[in-house]
Symmetry: C2
Subunit: 617 residues, 2 copies
């Protein structure tokens, strides 16, 4: 019997003061996104404006400026607030007779209409400055105005505080993009990726190579979208990653490759999927695990937004076994240990949760002031065991310990889930365990190379993918106890989310063939080109891929990856704006030699297979 | 009758001295690709080597270095040449007894095996320096050697001068990539794109936004690949460009967008197609045609490789009408006028060509020393006309003029083709008209907005796409003589190839609806989201897309765009390395509710629809 356990550690200084969660506002956008020593870009080159709305300050006083933007707000026909993607500025509507046409334009244009104005930057009258507004010291005395495009009645108001359903936001994505938060998220994304490119290309000599997305299906590629070709029965496949190509580039002598790669995954009925996503894809020759880790730490430190606390490197590292045993997961959130403040009913909730989700008993043990155990379980455990447990767990006064019994991985996994449940419970009470301004990176290493198939426990499958090299010190076990072999795989975890993973790859064709054919029983024909390539002077190599959407989601604190993607698909994989996927007339399927196999219960649909607007999410 | 004509201009100083076509060699790669003021990247950070093979010079004398690379060449077991992607270096194989194991490794490893060596940089003995080799002053006295991977017998030798069929090169692309030329092309591509990003992001505040590639089919999108979804009868479409998304981003207030965008085009049976390609995709709000042109000129000047002559800006500009009338094409190669040296049989060839390809008569007119016309045609033309023509064409002594009659566009087009034929003829004789070191950019503007459909001349179709804004001074003609309306479209031409095109877009929903529904008879339902977006405060906007593959092809002087793409498809759209597209077992089609419609004559294939290796190109 294995006694899995973890510790609801009493507060012993494990938390740090809650960092300032920087909340940039309109008008601070270009400034907060402008990185360190770099010069500020010319945001108004080549266009009709002289300045952006958001950049105007007292230093511009007296200047004649031309601005283009959207009418955000208007009051009493005396002033309006003009918005562009850099911020807001106040415009004084002229009241004198000679400017009647300007007044008419500015007063009659509906909100969200696009106008161009020319005028002079002046001080606001004393006492009317708005310190909450970055441009709050100045306003614009307008001379000319031009209505560039009038706006019709909108389906909802463009204000950040308006609560909208996500379906509506996605249907009118082009309006939602006007919000400060979406502007911030997309601009931050662009800047972080640019900094990553500078680090990789300019500082470390990586080569940005584009690899095809119309490719051959990979073994076990059940999650790959198919693309019919014009040859009967022949299909391309949209790959889940450029894995094969990046390895082939190493064989081709391009020894430092990276790509901001579009990847595809058809997860079918799994909810909250994005059928296409982006990864920072990296591969190097002549590198080991430590080399990749130091590269990535430098990459993240270099590209980290200036409005967050700097990233400290190197990141801590933990083996898979240790992560499972101590955190009950392979992606621990190490921002917190645990705190007290659990109430009696919480314990009942936790026990219920364990029974319900894991069919597993959990026993709480409380330590009273005399360091005695208070638990219904206490009488079943010997004094000697209790002391040893207290020593191992470093149990102190007023700690609560949750104990469970069962198979190692299952028991650990349950306790790991309960740890997160406890964190949720405590945070509902206002105890902040997971500081959103704190970014805790962690390497998890030494994963098993294989796991047994759930449906057929005597067969092995790759824990990650079949190209991962075994740990050199475990290679002899490949031929005797392959399930004990550790792989040279590493995951990068940020605040409890996996944001990247990679490995040192197999560069020996014979070893790769043995693992694919003998251990994994895969059809090696589908990979014959890769196996052949390894035979022709493949260098030792390894790499990693970072999930860009997930990373940005954590950095911006967005509730969903849909908030860091310009045009995401809905929860069910639909584009709600254009209603894709859509029906296609049968004659357009003909060149591809395919026809639709209608399920028995949708005969009518068959008859009416014409494109239609489908807004269901 | 229209009298189209162009001029075989005698050499009147139209040519310039042939520029140095820089031919970089192995070892100069990192240097020739390192741009201007930027620091040289650390090519050996994070890995097992201390230096690259190609970078070693006399300044490294005495240093102990570790190198990793491929064995390129070995002579008499005394030295070998080691190669990495930065160049070649000579390694002295130790001959003394104590280094027997090192000698064994270095002498027994087959060529193209991967080795790691450690040793000291020493001078070559006097007289043995190799001035043709960038590392030719030094060599490496080796202390230790390790065989990292042995190479099996190769299908062909890795030497640039080896002539290989392209099919073989594509089948073993990972070997072909080891050639100097492919390394150069792919690294130059990476660097040019990086410089473009710096210009757009860092200097001019553009935002890199990724747009989806799984989208809804567009009206008339017959060239779009389909991607079956798991909903019966519903398909995504792989778009030919992010056109709709970039316009929607403008509506969303992201006023300066760019993306290095993957695009898809299924050109069916058209040969030499690449089903996926890359474009530098740009869109701006509040911009006019001149703004986009100045932006692109700056972009190309900034990103232009240092080993070429700098780009001079602004680029010349020519209207479509002028290009057609004077060069007989909308993409003139303006590097040359024309020269003499045509022989009698060439004239016969030209006339044959015209008759054969255009069913059109062409009449040559020669001007003799007395400036009289010598032509069978001379007697049909009146003295007055002849004088006027001579004046218009600025015909001079010993010029030859080709005359033809016919419909304007057809006649011009024929003469344009003949001009290129004459250039080919002259270059076969060694007269260099099209200097490969000369890059002549040209804007072509004022295209017609519509053209009549070839199959139904009373109907109109867009000359480029239906979102192009009409020239403001022609708008009144939209309602009376739409075929006379010029569009605000601009093409960028380089040395006779179109490398980019763009337009100011329509931002008025009503005008867009009129053009789509009334003039073009398109189904506006498929674009209802875009039309709606224009109604909700769309700013005036415009953009451009540059064809990256074509541009790189011209810059590197590559014979085909396949030489600037890491893993291109063959002439017929196949991946010859992995043999994609490939058959898919029927059970993998089931989740997508499709089945293959086998053509009548391929019943056997139907029976044997299992994946197979198909290497036909």
């Amino acid at each position: 019997m294995y006694l899995g356990s973890w510790l609801s550690r009493l507060s012993r200084g494990l938390s740090r003061p809650i960092g300032k969660t920087t909340q940039p506002v309109w008008g601070s956008l270009s400034r907060s996104l402008t990185l360190g020593a770099q010069r500020i870009p010319e945001f108004s080159s080549f266009v009709a404006r002289t300045n952006t709305c958001g950049e105007l300050r007292s230093s511009h006083l007296g200047q004649e400026v031309t601005l283009c933007g959207w009418i955000q707000y208007r009051r009493q026909n005396t002033f309006l607030v003009l918005r562009d993607c850099h911020g807001l500025v106040q415009i004084i509507i002229p009241q004198d007779e000679s400017a009647a046409s300007v007044k008419k334009i500015l007063c009659e244009a509906p909100l969200e209409s696009v106008v161009k104005v020319t005028g002079t930057v002046i001080s606001r009258p004393p006492g009317q400055e708005n310190p909450k507004m970055p441009t709050g010291e100045i306003e614009i005395r307008v001379k000319t105005a031009e209505l560039l495009n009038a706006c019709k009645k909108l389906p909802f108001e463009i204000k950040d505080f308006m609560k909208k359903t996500e379906a509506l936001r996605l249907q009118y994505r082009y309006l939602d993009l006007r919000s400060f938060q979406m502007q911030y998220n997309l601009r931050l994304r662009s800047q972080m990726v640019m900094r990553m490119r500078e680090y990789l290309c300019n500082l470390h000599g990586f080569v940005d190579v584009e690899t095809p997305t119309l490719f051959k299906r990979t073994p076990g590629g059940a999650k790959e979208f198919l693309v019919p070709s014009r040859e009967p029965g022949k299909f391309y496949s949209l790959p889940q990653s450029p894995q094969q190509f990046k390895q082939l580039l190493m064989v081709g002598g391009l020894d430092r490759y990276f790509q901001v790669a579009r990847c595809y995954r058809d997860e079918g009925s799994r909810p909250d999927r994005q059928p296409e996503f982006t990864q920072i894809d990296i591969e190097m020759s002549f590198v080991d695990q430590t080399g990749i880790q130091r590269l990535i730490e430098g990459l993240l430190q270099y590209s980290w937004p200036d409005d967050k606390d700097p990233v400290e490197i190197p990141f801590p590292s933990m083996t898979f076994a240790e992560a499972l045993a101590t955190y009950g997961t392979d992606k621990p959130d190490i921002r917190f240990g645990m705190k007290k403040y659990l109430r009696k009913q919480d314990i009942a909730f936790i026990r219920d949760f364990a029974t319900h989700h894991f069919s597993q008993e959990v026993l709480p043990v409380f330590l009273n002031a005399k360091r005695n155990w208070s638990s219904p379980f206490a009488k079943f455990i010997m004094e000697e065991e209790r002391l040893e447990l207290s020593r191992l767990m470093e149990i102190q006064e007023e700690d609560m310990v949750l104990l469970t019994a069962g198979k190692h991985e299952k028991a650990c996994s349950l306790l790991g889930k309960l740890r997160m449940q406890c964190a949720d419970l405590l945070e509902m009470r206002g105890v902040v365990l997971r500081d959103p301004a704190l970014f805790s990176f962690l390497w998890v290493v030494d994963f098993p190379l294989f796991v047994t198939k759930e449906e057929s426990p005597t067969e092995l499958e790759s824990a990650h993918h079949p190209f991962t090299a075994p740990n050199p010190s475990d290679i002899h076990l490949l031929y005797t106890e392959p399930e004990k072999v550790r792989g040279q795989h590493y995951d990068l975890v940020l605040n409890g989310s996996e944001i990247g993973g990679g490995s040192i790859r197999i560069h020996d064709a014979q070893l790769q063939r043995y693992i694919l054919a003998t251990l994994l029983k895969e059809d090696v024909k589908l990979l014959s080109h890769l196996l052949q390539a390894l035979d022709y002077g493949a260098p030792p190599h390894g790499g990693i891929a970072l999930g860009l959407d997930r990373l940005l989601c954590l950095v911006t604190g967005a509730p969903s990856i849909r908030d860091v993607i310009a045009f995401p698909k809905s929860y069910r994989g639909h584009d709600l704006m254009s209603s894709a996927p859509d029906s296609v007339p049968p004659e357009e399927l003909k060149p591809y030699h395919i026809q639709v196999t209608w399920p028995a219960d949708s005969e009518e649909e068959n008859a009416a297979a014409t494109p239609s607007k489908n807004l269901s999410s």
